[in-house]
Symmetry: C2
Subunit: 333 residues, 2 copies
């Protein structure tokens, strides 16, 4: 197996990306080959800092870089030799089994759909993100941002793809699927929700009805389906919770030595108690519905986050997620 | 001034409602008259427990109660003598200057629009909620759930109404208004966001562009406009943060005495640091755009929450919010 990693994508690329990739390789005892895609010299230099002797890696040159600030469609046309385009082409040509990037999300999503193509029967590839739940478990929110305007059929497909991911990767037996809505009754919601409900209900999915915003973190369902606009707003809001908590504690402590001590003492406990609430543990966000394994990383990906994404990619390849989606979508239609 | 309170609405009504209302009256030194609407005997009994001598209150009988589980439109037709209907009719007849209910939200919203009527020029009354921000400040999210499907014109009106509320009640000079979206550029978003952006831009509002989910708690804007579906999902999600934090700490501490001690020690600090992050402080959610002052309380309203809602209602009456909205909407059209 070969897993390719965009060495140039992410706020702290190539440093954290290379480091995280090599850590995954070590942890996996060279079970797969890590293919680092990026500016060859820069990447080699970075690799050399991590005693790479005996590690199963290679570097593929991609002289261009799509920056975070680039406009996706423009960048894809102009930067044909960027790490994102080169990496996805490797995947398309079956020279690698998965591609991961923490770079420009818009460009990566567009390029994935364009280069890998949609799975036959999937109307819209969608991003899924794993959110932690209070019980120490997690739920899968799909779509988290690929599709702003959706039709009921898309929501149904998100449910199908999410179910496969939750079963294979999150190890949920017969995953429950819920529709994110503003009330529990089937009569509640906007037009999209009202029309999606009956489709989900008569699908073969383990549909448990509507859930509200407050039920997500409680873990009322294994898979939560929503259009990409709502999903993305919720995801971004969720990501802001820990930083908000931190800032708030800092504000509380500022200018008061006694309070500073209190906060200092509790910080460590808080960190431990909230472990798992950080995106670093979650293995990135897969773009489901494309022909291949395409994993989107957080722009601020740390070494730990990258390591977990690489290991997650291996798992997704092993479980043949794309193939399972292809078969399930066919059946659902 | 007379402020009417639905004594029967809320999970712990009439106990907490009556208690909170009387506390507000005491704190305000009888500046206004508190009108308690509900089953007369029950309410009188409850009042008598709080040494009401010298307090400026009255009780209006409403023998029926719309339960939390009632279907709004059905309940409004069948329970014409419910506290919600009786209270809103008092307001319509100008016998009271505001009405507050922590009861069935759907029924209360529908009845407010029906009985009080829309302000001329307002297409859709909307619920605004005050969310705390990291800097110890707050922002106003409108619409938080009254309108599931919106048109751009509605979003613009939410901006107008939110601006007035933020200026008059939240004391923001020239409040900034942002559109909740999934990217900062004006080219981002779903169809509604794309069409709303130019309307907001050319309005007389202090429009600062799009913000993402993560920017809400940071306080990037004083007023955040969204359709009621997205707004409600975010609001409910936000409400689940503190309970989630609590559960997570409990889970962390369970079965380990040392950890239990750690969590016990930090709980108090955490509570103080996060003060203001609780809905109790926020004075309820006004339904803006109706002819009158209609404030929606959280179903789980505590005494403190009710007290703050009553005082907020007084402020809204003093600032003639409805009249200001009427004039501003006219200008904007």
């Amino acid at each position: 197996m070969r897993i390719a990693l965009d060495a140039m994508g992410g706020d702290e690329a190539p440093l954290k990306i290379v480091e995280g990739g090599l850590q995954a390789l070590k942890e996996a005892n060279n079970r797969f080959e890590l293919v680092l895609v990026g500016r060859k010299d820069e990447v080699q230099m970075e690799v050399s800092l991590h005693s790479p002797e005996g590690l199963n890696y290679s570097v593929v040159d991609a002289p261009e870089v799509i920056e975070m600030s680039d406009i996706p469609n423009v960048a894809l046309k102009q930067k044909r030799n960027s790490s994102i385009v080169v990496g996805l082409n490797l995947h398309k040509e079956r020279k690698v089994d998965a591609f991961i990037s923490a770079g420009n999300t818009g460009a990566f999503m567009a390029a994935s759909a364009l280069i890998l193509g949609r799975i036959h029967g999937v109307s819209r590839p969608a991003v899924g993100t794993t959110l932690p739940t209070v019980d120490g478990n997690s739920c899968f929110l799909i779509d988290s941002g690929a599709n702003s305007d959706c039709r009921p059929q898309h929501i149904l497909e998100f449910g199908v793809m999410g179910t496969i991911y939750a079963r294979e990767i999150m190890k949920k037996e017969n995953p429950t699927v819920a529709l994110l809505n503003i009330g529990e009754e089937s009569s509640k919601g906007n037009e999209l929700a009202l029309l999606s409900y009956p489709l989900l209900e008569k699908s073969g999915l383990n549909f448990v009805g509507n859930i509200e915003g407050r039920d997500i973190l409680i873990g009322k369902a294994d898979v939560v389906v929503a259009d990409g606009f709502v999903g993305n707003v919720v995801l971004k809001f969720a990501e802001s919770i820990l930083p908000t908590l931190k800032s708030r504690l800092k504000l509380y402590a500022s200018g008061n030595i006694f309070r500073k001590l209190q906060v200092g003492v509790m910080a460590d406990t808080l960190r431990k108690a909230l472990k798992g609430f950080s995106y670093e543990m979650l293995g990135g966000a897969p773009l489901l519905g494309v022909n291949g394994i395409s994993i989107i990383g957080h722009g601020g990906s740390t070494t730990l986050a990258v390591k977990n994404m690489v290991l997650r990619a291996e798992e997704m390849v092993n479980h043949r997620i794309s193939e399972l989606i292809r078969n399930s979508i066919k059946k659902e239609k």
